[in-house]
């Protein structure tokens, strides 16, 4: 074969490989952007729903007890968003700017949902069992993954349990205020179970024992209500 023809073949092979490579990179980035867009759309929808429920409070000047179902659906959506965000964080890393921004928004929505849950409970006589779970991805919490597995397990087995997961080090004012108000120390993992603080994780049995007596067994038979996702 003539040397120039050989050279052309090397170049053609390179061009084809580069085209395949470029298409793959483009496709991967496209799917990633679609994934982010979906996360943002879910957050926007939850934001609207939260605001709607909040506004109903204000209009009626009391909790819209007939709309507790709506609150349940909100938690459902928040749970789904938490799963997706957790997956995205595992893919892109906890320091990715877009992940951090989405986590901040998600945290605000969690706090809002937590407050609404408390308001609905107070006004409508419900007795939700809530866990505020504080974790860290900064390498200062060796047992956070175990705590996450345990809370996921409890969430799956006690449908009425509401778990709100917070990245302790996430820089957002509302979370800092929540940490201050509940006096949560940086001894992670930390749990606020029905208002009482607990620190560290030893075993699933010990975590279950931290719940007020009888509450978990009652939740096991209660109507399913969604909880937020438990992440490390």
């Amino acid at each position: 074969m003539h040397p120039s023809a050989k050279g052309r073949k090397y170049l053609l092979a390179f061009a084809l490989s580069a085209a395949i490579f470029g298409t793959i990179i483009y496709a991967s980035n496209y799917f990633e952007s679609q994934r982010m867009a979906e996360l943002r759309a879910i957050e926007d929808q939850i934001s609207i729903d939260t605001l709607s429920l909040d506004t109903q409070f204000s209009l009626l000047e009391h909790a819209p007890c007939e709309d507790t179902v709506q609150g349940t659906e909100l938690s459902h959506e928040l749970n789904d968003l938490g799963s997706r965000l957790s997956y995205t964080e595992s893919r892109l890393g906890s320091t990715d700017p877009e992940v951090v921004r989405l986590k901040q928004q998600y945290t605000l929505l969690e706090i809002r949902d937590y407050l609404i849950t408390k308001q609905l409970a107070a006004a409508c006589g419900a007795k939700p069992v809530t866990v505020l779970y504080f974790y860290s991805n900064s390498g200062d919490c060796a047992d956070c993954d175990k705590a996450g597995y345990a809370l996921s397990y409890l969430h799956d087995n006690y449908p009425g349990l509401k778990v709100y997961s917070f990245d302790y080090h996430l820089a957002i004012g509302a979370l800092t205020t929540l940490i201050t108000l509940d006096k949560v120390k940086d001894d992670l993992p930390a749990f606020i179970i029905d208002g009482a603080p607990h620190y560290g994780f030893t075993s699933l049995a010990d975590l279950e024992a931290a719940f007020p007596k009888g509450t978990l067994s009652a939740l096991a038979t209660s109507t399913a209500t969604a909880t937020t996702n438990t992440k490390k």
């Binding site: 050989k6 073949k9 090397y10 053609l12 092979a13 390179f14 084809l16 490989s17 395949i20 490579f21 793959i24 990179i25 496709a27 991967s28 980035n29 799917f31 990633e32 994934r35 979906e38 997706r84 997956y87 893919r91 892109l92 890393g93 993954d145 175990k146 597995y149 345990a150 996921s152 397990y153 075993s203 699933l204």
Partner: protein, 416 residues
């Protein structure tokens, strides 16, 4: 993520290699073929070097005697390289056969057995058939045809795995189909650098000009091909000539065989380093040899990353089980949770291209179906099998540890 970015250049090189070989195949396929008139069939001597092959050598010799080829033009030299089993007794059965000459010698390695055959051969064509292989009846006629072209100095066949049983042999069954594609394409590129033990044929003048076989780290079939390429001697491939070989049936025996092959390649690469990136040797020097050498290391790295990834997942799973006990993992069909990383698509692209090359290889070898379930086994397992022998061979090169042909056969006999 960092590991991903490290692997991108390696995967791009793999992709480039596959695209280049496929393009070269298409080019060779479409190119007009020169036709040469064959006045008469050449005379041929086939050497059968044996070391402890009492169970297979009779079939090897019988297949040669059953070749559709004029008997007066075909001689078989069965060379017993100091076997310690019943090989000598099996060979004794052929004493007095007009086509078979039996040689007995002290154990000295395969190359010494072949050189003994070369010293006694007088035919125009000589060749080797390993004593664990046998030929299809029309194989010699198919290969003799290409020697009508006076520029062809050697011809290699398509090697098939005989009755693959077990996972390891089935993986090789698919691998050999890919090899058939690669050999055909490399021959068009004038870049074949191995003349395999199972039935590669040579004009005898090759050895008269280049000298006898060398030990060459127990890969004399690679060394002689590199020596021929260095002298500009053309090596052809005949995918319609079928040779069947008994593939290692256990991972341990396959591992030993491949450590020897890879070790030989690395050591020969050092000896023939002047051919690397040397435009005088065309595609072989500029592309095939450098990439062949380079791809030893990405395979090890890719495997290391995969193992590290799998180990990380296993540790996570173990920690989860230690907390909540065993539970079936959750699977979601939501597209959101699909792994759409570029590295996954790249691997898929490489797998698709590899499947295409195997399919072409199977059709070249005359298989009825382009695909076979063994291809799936190959795609699933080979990537995890190869890095171990690549790593071991690399270590042996550094530590200068060499495994002999006969020690490998001894070990295989003990295990199989």
């Amino acid at each position: 993520m960092q590991a991903d970015w490290f692997m991108y250049p390696l995967l791009f090189l793999s992709l480039y290699f596959e695209v280049f070989v496929l393009l070269s195949f298409l080019e060779g396929w479409r190119a007009p073929k020169a036709s040469h008139t064959q006045d008469a069939l050449p005379s041929v001597t086939v050497f059968v070097p044996c070391y402890n092959e009492e169970h297979t050598v009779a079939r090897t010799i019988d297949s040669l005697l059953a070749l559709d080829y004029p008997k007066e033009l075909l001689a078989v030299f069965a060379i017993n390289d100091g076997s310690t089993d019943g090989t000598a007794a099996v060979l004794a059965r052929y004493a007095g056969h007009p086509q078979v000459t039996v040689f007995e010698k002290e154990n000295g390695g395969k190359h010494t057995a072949l050189n003994l055959g070369l010293a006694h051969a007088t035919t125009e064509i000589v060749g080797c058939l390993d004593a664990d292989s046998f030929v299809a009846p029309d194989a010699l006629r198919e290969m003799a045809r290409c020697f009508a072209d006076p520029t062809v100095m050697s011809a290699t066949p398509a090697i098939k795995v005989h009755e693959p049983k077990g996972v390891v042999a089935r993986v090789q069954h698919a691998e050999y189909a890919m090899s058939a594609f690669v050999r055909r394409t490399f021959a068009w590129l004038e870049a074949l650098f191995i003349t395999p033990g199972p039935f590669s044929l040579f004009r005898r003048e090759v050895f008269l000009k280049l000298g006898p076989y060398r030990s060459a780290y127990n890969t004399e079939d690679m060394e002689v091909a590199l020596r021929m390429q260095r002298e500009g001697m053309r090596i052809e491939n005949v995918p319609t000539a079928h040779v069947f070989t008994t593939a290692p049936s256990t991972y341990a025996s396959l591992y030993r065989q491949r450590v020897r092959w890879t070790y030989g390649f690395l050591k020969n690469a050092r000896d023939y380093r002047d051919m690397f990136l040397n435009p005088r040797y065309g595609t072989l020097g500029m592309f095939i040899l450098p990439l062949g050498l380079f791809t030893v290391f990405p395979s090890i790295f890719l495997m290391a990353f995969s193992v590290a990834d799998a180990a990380g997942n296993a540790v996570d799973a173990a920690r989860r089980i230690s907390v909540v006990g065993f539970s079936a993992p959750h699977f979601s069909l939501d597209w959101f949770y699909l792994d759409t990383r570029a590295i996954v698509f790249l691997m898929l692209a490489i797998i698709v291209l590899a499947t295409v090359t195997i399919a072409i290889g199977r059709k070249l070898m005359g298989e009825r179906h382009a695909l076979h379930p063994n291809v799936v086994l190959y795609l699933l397992l080979y990537g995890f099998m190869a890095p171990f022998w690549l790593a071991r061979a690399s270590y042996n090169v550094i530590a200068s540890r060499e495994r002999t042909w006969s020690s490998e056969i001894d070990a295989r006999r003990k295990r199989d």
